[in-house]
């Protein structure tokens, strides 16, 4: 357990399935379906299903036996003629919503899904209103330059022209 804990604590390191024995790409040649269309759908679905024993790794990426079982399950359902949604529903019914990499939009995830767009609208809208309001206010007319300043300006401009 110590080694596992020290790993979890490992500072700011990009560790994913490090708690697993061997990190490697998952899909094995024996699992690949003969029908390339079906296999492509299987791969797409796999990237959105989480390996339950890993940290934040999809079953498409994980080498864990459980991930393998899930991959085979997904392919079995597809071969049996399930649609993508049916496969997902089937897996969720068995393993719970935790298995989905993209949480479903529902009561308990409203805040999660809407937070960023709402924040953008509120902040962006606020800035827009502020900008429109400010538009009405004309900035004070700048003071005329006095003779000394005019001379300075002319000198600077002529220097700039030389550059």
């Amino acid at each position: 357990m110590t080694s596992l804990r020290s790993l979890v604590f490992l500072p700011f390191v990009f560790l994913l399935c490090i708690t697993l024995a061997a990190p490697a790409v998952a899909v094995n040649p024996s699992e690949i379906l003969d029908d390339p269309k079906l296999e492509e759908r299987a791969r797409d679905l796999s990237t959105n299903l989480r390996c339950l024993v890993c940290q934040n790794q999809s079953i498409d990426d994980s080498d864990a036996p459980l991930a393998r079982d899930l991959r085979v399950l997904v392919r079995e359902r597809l071969v049996a003629g399930d649609s993508n949604d049916e496969v997902i529903d089937f897996v969720v019914a068995r393993y719970g919503e935790f298995v989905l990499m993209t949480p479903r939009f529902a009561g308990h995830t409203v805040v999660l899904w809407l937070a960023a767009p709402v924040l953008l609208l509120v902040a962006g809208g606020g800035l827009l209103i502020l900008a429109l309001r400010r538009r009405g206010v004309k900035p004070a007319k700048p003071k005329e330059l006095d003779a000394d300043e005019k001379q300075k300006l002319a000198r600077l401009l002529s220097e700039e022209a030389k550059v």
Partner: protein, 658 residues
């Protein structure tokens, strides 16, 4: 014996740090602050030196050495083992913090001396809780009795040069944001929030951000090379922990530029300085407390997590309270029209902050939901891609306009005219990409256009400012030499963003893979590469054994290259790893890994082709270079302090004679 010296060293550092607290209210002189900061640094250096020594000497009577080291490891990994664990990395954090406190106190101020005194006192004192934490709850020198005969070894995945230096650099980035935080807090306290505060913040912000970028980039590069399936970004909570300060820090620098030039966005800049450091601390808390694996893992061993949580709440809560108390007194100067350089930078801040919030919410939401309702959900890469990317696209689209807009009030049509060539170039690139690519999503050419738009936009700005092709070349050269370094830095960093975008688009849209069983002599073709498995042989390394597969690869340009991939076993931990073999080219990497050998003598082989993938890190290097070049700008230079005597003399001579 040596490890027992730690109390002495850490005690010294803690005492010095506590002595710096006084500077907050009593005006203790900067010279005194410098002395204390030096003492603090000496204490931390001593303690960290002892730690390095125990690792170098493989002193297995010390617990973390026994848990993380092994006598057969190469020296560099023995040393990197010192920070490859919780206790050691906390000590490294304290050391880096002390280093910043020392460096900050010893540079010449842009702000008034009183503010500088307060700032260096705050920065120095902020290290006290960490030091206390190490002394009280996270002792890196805990003894193991009886001493172990052999260590358990460092996780082989971490035995990689990129990862050996990744934590110190990342920490240097994280902790670096303590300086802007300290300056902001001191400025509010002394009620002098003006443009000099921005001048004071900018160099530290630039260096912290450059280091953070390097740290994040190294981590991503390591994951790509070592984890064995060529992924480079996973939206893992640990990655997000480092990405949030990056986003906030980037926003901070851009708003500080407005504050420095135009005295605008003062309130916002100060707030961002606080937020950025708060996110650094939040990252520490997330990673260290174990809360990420599950809320329950945190609950079972809450001591350390709680300590960090308390530190975080105290710092951040205190800073926010201070901000809320004093912010109403701040007046934003510099009125500007929405279409202006300031306006563009406000837009930049809007998108970066919302993006940062999106990452924050996505990272914390599952934890919060589980704590409140007990429901367990996962928030994975598809969610982040769906929320983060739509925020980045408009930001990157308008980015090239920014440097072309004048301060106060600008002319978009004029900027658009100057960017016409860049726009045409980008469209042309997209058309070419669309015609060359035989497959891949329809969005990919648009992504290519975006990347090229950023690069060409940055180049246009330099071309415009140097009057390229409008005057003769020697004149352009002279102008290029005279261009402020900050203009160069901006252009280089912005072009770097474009380069990274190209890499990301290329890798995600056009990657190819082969997964199959091969025997020596078998061939396969992937992305115009002919790959032949030539041989398999066993090999013994310094602390591992491996099976090495050698492949002959004919690249699209007709060259023959050889690449080796292996499956390793590290007996010290009985830990298998896969070592990917790579042919790295700018056009794309061929990435070969081995899977399980089969009983019939065949070998599972996975070959990936990753087009343009190296541009991701090359772009990152551009961003770092851009930050570094900006740092050398005359305005941002941090000078060596002037000795007190010389200063007094200068002050005396500055008084005009009657």
């Amino acid at each position: 014996m040596l490890p027992e010296l730690r109390v002495l060293f850490l005690g010294l550092a803690l005492a010095a740090s506590l002595l710096q607290v006084r500077g907050g209210w009593a005006d203790i002189a900067l010279e005194r602050q410098r002395f204390y900061a030096g003492l603090q640094l000496a204490g931390c250096l001593g303690a960290f030196g002892v730690l390095l020594w125990t690792f170098a000497a493989s002193d297995f009577s010390v617990l973390i050495v026994a848990e993380n080291s092994h006598t057969t490891k190469p020296l560099i990994y023995k040393l990197s083992g010192a920070w490859g664990n919780h206790e050691g990395s906390a000590l490294m954090w304290a050391l880096i913090h002390a280093f910043y406190a020392f460096l900050y106190a010893n540079t010449a101020p842009h702000v008034s001396r009183a503010t500088k005194q307060k700032a260096s006192s705050i920065i120095g004192a902020l290290n006290a809780p960490t030091l206390l934490f190490i002394l009280a709850a996270s002792n890196p020198f805990e003894r193991l009795a009886p001493a172990a005969l052999e260590g358990q070894g460092l996780n082989p995945l971490l035995q990689d040069p990129a990862l050996a230096i990744h934590p110190p650099i990342l920490y240097a980035g994280y902790v670096g944001f303590v300086v802007p935080f300290g300056i902001a807090a001191a400025a509010i306290l002394s009620k002098s929030v003006n443009r000099t505060v921005a001048s004071e913040v900018l160099p530290w912000g630039f260096s912290a951000l450059a280091l953070l970028t390097l740290g994040v980039g190294l981590g991503s590069w390591w994951a790509y090379r070592e984890l064995g399936w060529g992924g480079w970004w996973f939206w893992d909570p640990v990655e997000n922990a480092s990405f949030m300060p990056w986003l906030a820090g980037t926003a901070l620098l851009h708003s500080a530029i407005v504050m420095e030039k135009r005295e605008g966005l003062k309130v916002w800049t100060v707030l961002l300085a606080i937020i950025t450091f708060a996110l650094s601390l939040l990252g520490t808390f997330l990673v260290r407390s174990g809360v990420l694996t599950s809320v329950h893992a945190f609950a079972t061993d809450p001591e350390r997590g709680l300590f960090i949580l308390i530190i975080m709440i105290a710092f951040v809560g205190g800073a926010f309270a201070l901000f809320a108390w004093r912010a109403p007194l701040l007046r934003n100067g510099g009125v500007f029209s929405p279409i202006s350089r300031e306006g563009a930078l406000v837009l930049n801040n809007l998108f970066l902050s919302v993006a940062c919030a999106a990452v924050l919410i996505g990272t914390l939401y599952p934890l919060a939901l589980e704590a409140v309702t007990g429901q367990k959900i996962s928030v994975g890469p598809p969610f982040f891609n769906a929320t983060f990317l739509p925020l980045m696209i408009p930001l990157l689209l308008v980015l090239p306009f920014g440097p072309f807009l004048a301060w106060k009030r600008a002319d978009v049509a004029g900027a658009a005219e100057r960017l016409l060539a860049a726009g045409l170039f980008a469209v042309l690139g997209a058309v070419m990409a669309a015609s060359l690519a035989e497959r891949g999503p329809w969005l990919a050419p648009i992504g290519v256009a975006l990347g090229l738009w950023l690069i060409a936009g940055a180049a246009s700005e330099i071309a415009f400012r140097t009057k390229l092709f409008k005057v003769d070349l020697s004149e352009t050269w002279r102008r290029a030499c005279n261009l402020p370094r900050s203009a160069w830095g901006t252009a280089i960093a912005h072009a770097g963003v474009g380069v990274t975008v190209l890499g990301v688009v290329g890798e995600t849209a056009w990657k190819d893979e082969y997964i199959g069983l091969m025997r020596p002599g078998d061939q396969t073709e992937i992305a115009d590469h002919m790959v032949t498995l030539e041989s398999m042989r066993p090999h013994r390394g310094p602390n591992y054994v491996e099976d090495v597969a050698r492949f002959e690869v004919t690249t699209p340009d007709g060259l023959t290259r050889y690449v080796e991939a292996s499956k390793r076993l590290y007996p010290a931990r009985n830990f298998p790893t896969t070592e990917a073999g790579m042919i790295e080219r700018l056009a794309g990497d061929l990435y070969v890994t081995l899977g399980e050998p089969q009983e019939d003598g065949t070998q599972t082989v996975r070959v990936f082709y990753k087009p343009l993938v190296n541009l991701i890190w090359i772009g990152t290097l551009f961003m770092i270079a851009g930050g570094t070049v900006s740092l050398t700008d005359r305005r941002l230079r941090v000078g060596a302090p002037v000795p007190a005597k010389a200063r007094r003399r200068a002050e005396v001579s500055a008084i005009p004679a009657e």
